[in-house]
Assembly symmetry: D2
Homo-oligomer: 326 residues x 4
C-alpha cells in the first residue's frame, strides 16, 4: 500500500514473516513506527523530513545513547506477534512498559503444544550465580526426563480434553496444564524500552529459552533502526559499567597524560583490588570485564529462515482439542 | 515503634496478619503509606496536618472520585504479601502499575502446593459472556476431575523431585509444573490503581479464584482509607455507566422538572430501546442495570480469621522437596 | 512510499498537515500505527489480515469499550507534532502515559511568540465549579488586559534578547519568559490513553485553550480509527456514570418489565433525591445528566484548514531573536 | 504515634522538616514506606521480619544494584512536599514514574514569589556541551539583569493583581506570570525511580537550580535507606560506563593475569584511541573518566538547617495578592 509515513525497506522486507524460535514458537514483526531518522527528528523537534547526512544522524544517536538522553528513542515503536511457552511468557511480562494482548484460555480452547528442551540445553544448576544452568549437558538424564515429561503431558492433554469435552469451564480446565505449554500474544513496545528488554534478555544470565526470543527480536530491531541498534551494541550490550572502586583500581594502572592514556608500570593482585574497596565477588567481576571479550553476537536475520503465518496458524489450530460437547 | 508518619489504627490492627484465601493461599497487608487525610492534603497541597472535620474530608474525597480527579488518591500506597496459584498470578500481573517481587523458581526450590477447586465452584462454561463459568455445580464430574488432577499432580511432583534431585537446573525442572501450583509475591500499589484493580477483579465476570483475593484486599483497603473505599463502592462498584443511547432512552421516561425528576408516562419495549441506537446485547445490559440491584457485598475483615505468618511459612517450607543432590 | 503495514487512507490524507490552533499554535499528525482492524486483531490474537466484515469489527470494538477491555486499543499508536503556550503544555504533560520530546530552551534560542486570548474567551472566574471561567466576556476589561500584556511582553522579549545577546546561559535567560510563550513538542501516545486524554480535555470543565488542541486531535483520531472514535463518543464522551444513589433514584421512576422499561408514575423532588443518599451537589449533577443533552460536537477536520509545515517553521524561525553575541 | 510498620529513626528525625532550597523553595520528606531491610525482604520474598546481620543486607543490596535487579528497590516509597520555580518544575515533571499533586493556579490565587539567581550562578552559555552554563560568573551583567528582572516582575505582579482584582478567571490571569514564579507540589516516588531521578539531576550537566533540590533529596534518601544510598553512590553516581571501544582501549593497557590486573607498558595517544573506534568527543569523555575524580559530594543533611512548615506556609500566604473583587 502507499503511505506517506516514514518507511524502512529493510524492515518492510521481513514485515509479517514468522521466524521460528525453539521447537514450536515464533516471533513476527507485524508493524513498526519510525526509524533512526525519527529519533533524530524528535531530538531536534524539527518540522518535516529534511535531508540529513547519515553520518550526522549516527553521531547524534550515539551521543544521545551515551548520555542517557533516552526520550527521543521512545518515538519509535515496534509491534510483534509471538508464541512462547508459558514459563517464558511469565518472565517476559515482567517488562511492564509494553502493551500486550494474550490469547485467552478463558475464552478459547488452548492448542496443546508443549516445549521440549534439547539435550544440549539440558544442564545442571550452576553454582556460580545460583540461578541459572551451566556445565556439560546432562545427556544421560535427558532421555529419561523427556520420557517423564512426555508421559505427564499425555495425561495433561487427556485431562484437558476430558474436561472441555464435558463442558467444564475453560478457565478451570486449563489449571493443570504445565508451564511448558505454548501461549501467544501481540506485544508492542517503544525502541527505548525494547533496548532495555533486550539488554536484560540477550544477556548470558537470562534463561536460555527467553534469550532465543530476544535474539530474533534484536535482529528485527537491527532492520528497523540500524544506527540505534549499533549504538546499543557498542554502549550497552558490549559495554560495561565500572564502579567507584573499580575506577580507583584502573586509575592506579592507567594515567591520563598529554591528551592520551599511559599504562603505569605495576600490578594489582587480588588483595590490592580488595583494598580498592571491592568485595571478593566484585574482583571476579572486574577481571571478567577486562579479560578478552567474547566475539560479538551476530543478530542478523535471514529472511529465508522465516515461514508463512499460515503454517503456524495451521499447526496451532490442529493442536486444539476436537471436542464434541456432551 | 514510634513514628511521626500518618498512622491508622484500623489498618495497624490487621498489619502483618495473614488472611487465608482459597485452599492454600493468603493475603497480608505488610505496610501502608497514608490514608484519606493524605488524599485530602495532596488535593489541597497543604502544609502539615491541620484539623479538618471528617465530613469535609468525606465531601472532598467523594467529589474527587466522582469527577475523575484521581491524582490525589495516588498519594496513598499499600504493600501486600500474597500467595496464589500461578494461573491467578498470570491474571493479576496484567495490572502493570504495581511493583512486584515474585518468589524465584530459578533460584529457589518451589513448594509443591496445588490449588484444588471446591465442588461448588466446579461449573460449566457459561454461554452468556462466553468466557466464564456458570450454572449449577457439576458435582458428579467434580469427583472424577479431582481424581485425575491428583494423579497428574503426584506425577508432576515426582518429576520435579527427580529432576532437582539429579541437580537439573531449577529453571528447567519447573517447566512441567501445572498452572495450579502456588507462587507468592510482594505487591505494592497506590490507592488509585488498587481501586481500578479491585473494580475489575471484584466484578462477577472476573474468575472466581482471583475474586477471592480481591475481596480480601478490598477489606484491607476499607481499613486503610475508609472514606475512599466508601466513595469507590458508591461511584464505581455499585455505580453504572450509561451510554449516549441509554441516556436517550432514560430521557424518554424521566423528565427534569422544577428541580426534581418526574416519570413521564410510558413504556419502551425492546424494539423502542433498539430504536434509541442500542444493539440487542446493549438492551439486555440496560435492563440489567435498572433491575433491582444485588445486595451490597460486605468486605469487612474479621481479624480472627487471620493466621500467623509463621504458619504459612512453615506449610510452604514443608512442601519444598527434600533433596539429597546426587 | 510503498509499505506492507496496515494503512488508512483517511489518515494518510491529513498526515503531515499542520492544523492551526489558537493564534500561533498547531497540531499535526506525523505518524500512526494501526487502525480499528488492529484493535480487533489484537483482541482475537489472530494471524495476518483476514477479511472481516466491518459490522463485526464495529460490534467487537463497541463491546470491548463498553466492558473496559482496553488493552486491545493500546495496539494503535499516534504521533503528533504540536505547538502550544507553556501554560497549556503544563496541563498536557500531566498525562504521563505518553512519550514526549520538547524543544529545549537550554540548548536553543526560543521563538518569542506569545498567546493572546480573544475577547470572547476573556471571562470571569466561575463561581460554580470554582476553577474555570464563565459568563459573558469581559469585553471592556479585555482591551486594557491586552495592553498590559503587550507591554509586559515587549519588556520580556527585550530582556531575553539582552541576556542572550550578552551570552548569558540560555537556561537562565529564559526564566522570566511568561507562561504564555509558545513551546512545541513531539507527542506520541496509544489509542487507549489518547481516548482518556481526550475525554478529560475535550470536556467543558477543561481550560478553553487545551480544549482547542484536544478537539483537533479528536478529529485526527476520527480518521485513524473511526469505529473506536464512534464508540468513545457513545460510551465515554456522551455517556454518563450513575452512582449507587442515582441508580436508586432512577429505579423509583423506571421499572424493568416484560423485557422493556416502564415509567412508574411519580416524581422525586430535591428532598426525595437527597433521601436516596445524594449530596446537594450530586442532585444538581443528576438533573444535569438527565436534562436534554447539548448537541454532539462535530470534530470532523477539514483538510483545507491545514497549512504547510514550512509556514509554521518560518514563522517560529522569524521570532527567534537575532543576536550578535558580544 | 505507635505503628507496627517498618520504622527508621534517622528518617523519623527529619520527617516533616522543611529544608530551604534556593531563595524561597523547600523540600520536606513528609512520609516514607520501608527501608533497606524491605528491599532485602522483597528480594527474598520472606515472611515477617527476621534477624539478619547488616553485613548480609549490605552485600545483597550491592549485588542487586550492580546486576540491575531493580525491582526490590521499588518496594520502598518516599513522599516529598516541595516548592520550586516553574522552570524547575517543568524539568522535574519529565520523570513520569512519580505521583504528583501540584498547587492549582486555576483554583487558587498564586503567591507572587520569584526566583532570583545569585551572582555566582550567573554564567555564560557553555560552549562545550552546548546546553548549560559555565565559566566565571558574569558579575557585572548580574546587577543589570536583576534590575531588569525586578522591573518586569513588578509589572507581572501588578498585572496579576489587577486581573484577579477584576475577577478575571485565574486560569487566564496567570498566563503572563514568568517561569521564575514558585509553584509547589506533593511528589511521591519509589526508591528505584528516585535513584534514577537523582543520578540525572545531581549530575553536573543538570541545571544548577534543579540540582539544588536533588542534593537535598539525596540527603533525605541517605537517611531512609542508607545502604541503598551507598550502593548508588558507588555504582551509579561515582561509577562510569565504558563502551565497547573504551574497553578495547583499556585492554591494550591493562591485562588480566594470575587473578589480578597488570599494566602493560605502553601509551595510547589520541590517534590510537580513535583507532579503537572512538569519535573525538568520546576520546575526551574517556580521558575525563580516568582523570582523578572530583571529591565525593557530601549529601548529609543537617536537621538544624530545616525550618518549620509554618514559616514557609506563612511566607507563601503573605505573597498571595490581597484582592477586593470589584
Amino acid at each position: 500500500m502507499e503511505t506517506r509515513r516514514p518507511t524502512n525497506p529493510a524492515a518492510e522486507e521481513i514485515l509479517g514473516l514468522y521466524f521460528p524460535v525453539l521447537d514450536h514458537g515464533f516471533v513476527a514483526l507485524v508493524d513498526y513506527m519510525g526509524s533512526d531518522e525519527d529519533v533524530e527528528r524528535a531530538a531536534r523537534v524539527s518540522y518535516g523530513y529534511g535531508t540529513r547526512r547519515t553520518s550526522q544522524t549516527r553521531g547524534l544517536i550515539r551521543y544521545l545513547r551515551r548520555h542517557d538522553h533516552t526520550t527521543p528513542s521512545e518515538m519509535v515503536e515496534l509491534k510483534f506477534h509471538c508464541a512462547m511457552p508459558i514459563f517464558v511468557a511469565r518472565q517476559w511480562i515482567r517488562h511492564r512498559t509494553a502493551n500486550v494482548n494474550e490469547y485467552s484460555g478463558r475464552y478459547s480452547l488452548l492448542p496443546l503444544v508443549y516445549y521440549r528442551p534439547e539435550a544440549e540445553q539440558f544442564q545442571a544448576q550452576t553454582p556460580s550465580n545460583r540461578q541459572g544452568r551451566g556445565g556439560d549437558p546432562l545427556t544421560e538424564l535427558h532421555a529419561e526426563a523427556i520420557e517423564r515429561w512426555e508421559q505427564a503431558r499425555r495425561q495433561s492433554s487427556e485431562n484437558y480434553e476430558w474436561l472441555v469435552g464435558h463442558d467444564v469451564a475453560r478457565e478451570l480446565a486449563r489449571i493443570d496444564l504445565p508451564l511448558s505449554v505454548y501461549t501467544q500474544w501481540y506485544w508492542k513496545i517503544d525502541l527505548h524500552n525494547l533496548l532495555h528488554f533486550l539488554r536484560l534478555r540477550v544477556d548470558a544470565h537470562s534463561q536460555y529459552e527467553i534469550r532465543a526470543f530476544a535474539r530474533v527480536m534484536a535482529g528485527m530491531l537491527q532492520r528497523v533502526a540500524p544506527l540505534s541498534f549499533e549504538a546499543w551494541v557498542d554502549y550497552a550490550l558490549a559495554g560495561k559499567p565500572f564502579s567507584r572502586g573499580e575506577l580507583a583500581a584502573l586509575r592506579k594502572l592507567v594515567a591520563v597524560s598529554d591528551g592520551g592514556l599511559e599504562a603505569r608500570a605495576g600490578r594489582l593482585d587480588r588483595a590490592a583490588l580488595e583494598g580498592c574497596g571491592l568485595m571478593p565477588r566484585e574482583v571476579d567481576e572486574l577481571l571478567e570485564k577486562l579479560a578478552p571479550p567474547p566475539p560479538l553476537e551476530d543478530f542478523a536475520l535471514d529472511p529465508a529462515a522465516a515461514r508463512p503465518a499460515e503454517e503456524f496458524a495451521r499447526r496451532m489450530e490442529e493442536a486444539v482439542p476436537r471436542v464434541d460437547r456432551r
